[in-house]
Amino acid sequence: MINFGYTSNKDRQIVFDENDRSVYQILQSKEPSVDICIQCGTCSSTCTTGQFTQFSLRQIIVNIHRGEMDFINEDIRKCMFCGKCQLVCPRSVNTRNIIQVLITILN
């Protein structure tokens, strides 16, 4: 093996068919309202934690659906559970339970 001084860059593409999307399936079975999210971003904009960090429930949901699980476990632990997201969600997604279920599934 030769070190040329560079390596092949990691592909950023979401390879949907190869990603492990099982967490979404479990989440979906335990909290079906995750399905009706329309990714409007209201939750992430009102988020108390969002004032301090890049935390976004919207992105967490979409990334889990795509099986992009990097950092999800760290991210969900940033949530303070205050419930503002639940109050503002136009689709009435049970946001807090999504966090609750994820914390259980991912540990």
């Binding site: 093996m1 030769i2 040329f4 001084g5 560079y6 390596t7 092949s8 860059n9 990691k10 592909d11």
Partner: protein, 356 residues
């Protein structure tokens, strides 16, 4: 796949290609990467097809690499391009044939720009006049060298000694084509077959007996992308692009990659070696690489030229497996011998698998 549908599209992208009297401009890098290719082009046109080709040594780089790397301003580039046209005009030619895809894209872009902004053209004429005292006519016909070979693919086939057919099985050789990005992605109408399903190389492969293989990442760039390769820190990105293509084509088991751009054969060839050195992965059959060729090299092989005259020994991925399949005769001992049997020196063989 519905080939009929593809043909409908090909019909929409027909292109006028002059049939004689070409003014040939060479590529900066091809002569060092694949030195036999341009020689083969001239030999085919002049001796096989009896065409008039003007090949001068006084033209310069088109500045394309510098232009796309943001180091040469556009007016400078246009003036250099204007000088190339002036040389053509002075030599009495009207059909401009660049060897390089980047050049072809650049000439097309300059001509299009002048078409829409005549005042710019006037200023460039003025610049050229001031700098060199030359005047120029815009070419009547601008075609890439691969367009010219495409135009005469049937004539070449008629004169061919070999066909792209496995002599043992009688099956056509499976070839993937890779078109240089600047050939038609910028101006789909200027490329044979357009940008989505280019036909220029596919037409040659079909005509010479091979089977064209489509694969999902066919349109993806080889990874040259000037700034990606030229800066060493970015080189991993270049490598990743080629790797994406290899991984995508691998299941189709192609036996040859055919290219028409200076950079693409370079990267598709050398990166196979680099990936193998880094990770031990190879994409051809039996742990071998997939041979990569330029269209001139392939045309030359079909016409029975000696592989070593075509410069196939400077390829990183050895082409002997393909030559054997087609049944092309060659002398293995002469591989690393130059003109008058001068020793060229042997490359260091890759450590883990036999690539050369």
């Amino acid at each position: 796949m519905n080939v009929e549908g593809k043909k409908l599209i090909w019909q929409d992208y027909q292109k006028e290609i002059a049939d004689n009297n070409y003014y040939y401009v060479r590529s900066c890098v091809r002569q060092t990467f694949f030195p036999g290719s341009e020689t083969a082009f001239l030999r085919i046109l002049k001796t096989e097809l009896n065409k008039d080709v003007c090949d001068q040594s006084i033209h310069t780089s088109c500045t394309g690499i510098g232009y796309h790397s943001d180091v040469v301003p556009i007016e400078t580039t246009m003036t250099v391009v204007a000088r190339q046209f002036a040389l053509m005009t002075e030599a009495g030619y009207k059909n401009f044939v660049p060897s390089c895809i980047t050049s072809f894209g650049l000439y097309t872009e300059v001509l299009e720009t002048w078409h829409h902004f005549p005042e710019l053209e006037a200023r460039i004429r003025e610049n050229l006049r001031k700098a060199t005292g030359r005047e120029f006519e815009k070419p009547d016909n601008l075609a890439h060298a691969s367009d010219v070979i495409f135009k005469f693919r049937k004539e070449i086939a008629a004169k061919s000694k070999y066909r792209l057919i496995n002599k043992n099985t009688g099956e056509p050789i499976k070839v993937v084509d890779h078109i240089g990005c600047h050939y038609s992605k910028m101006f789909p109408g200027k490329g044979i077959g357009g940008a989505e399903y280019p036909y220029v190389l596919a037409g040659m492969i079909e005509e010479w007996g091979g089977e064209v293989i489509d694969y999902p990442e066919r349109r993806h760039c080889c990874g040259f992308g000037f700034r990606q390769y030229l800066v060493k820190q970015n080189r991993g990105y270049s490598l990743a692009c080629s790797r994406k293509k290899f991984e995508s084509m691998e299941p189709y088991e192609p036996e040859l990659i055919l290219t028409n751009c200076p950079g693409c054969p370079m990267f598709l060839d050398r990166w196979q070696y680099a990936i193998n050195e880094m990770e031990g992965k190879s994409y051809g059959k039996n742990g071998q690489g997939i041979p990569v060729m330029t269209y001139e090299e392939l045309a030359g092989l079909m016409l029975g030229y000696d592989p070593w005259d075509l410069g196939l020994q400077v390829h990183q991925v050895g082409c002997e497996s393909l030559l054997d399949k087609i049944g092309i005769e060659y002398d293995p001992d002469k591989k690393y011998k130059g003109l008058e049997d001068k020793e060229l020196g042997k490359p260091k063989t890759p450590s883990n698998i036999l690539f050369v």
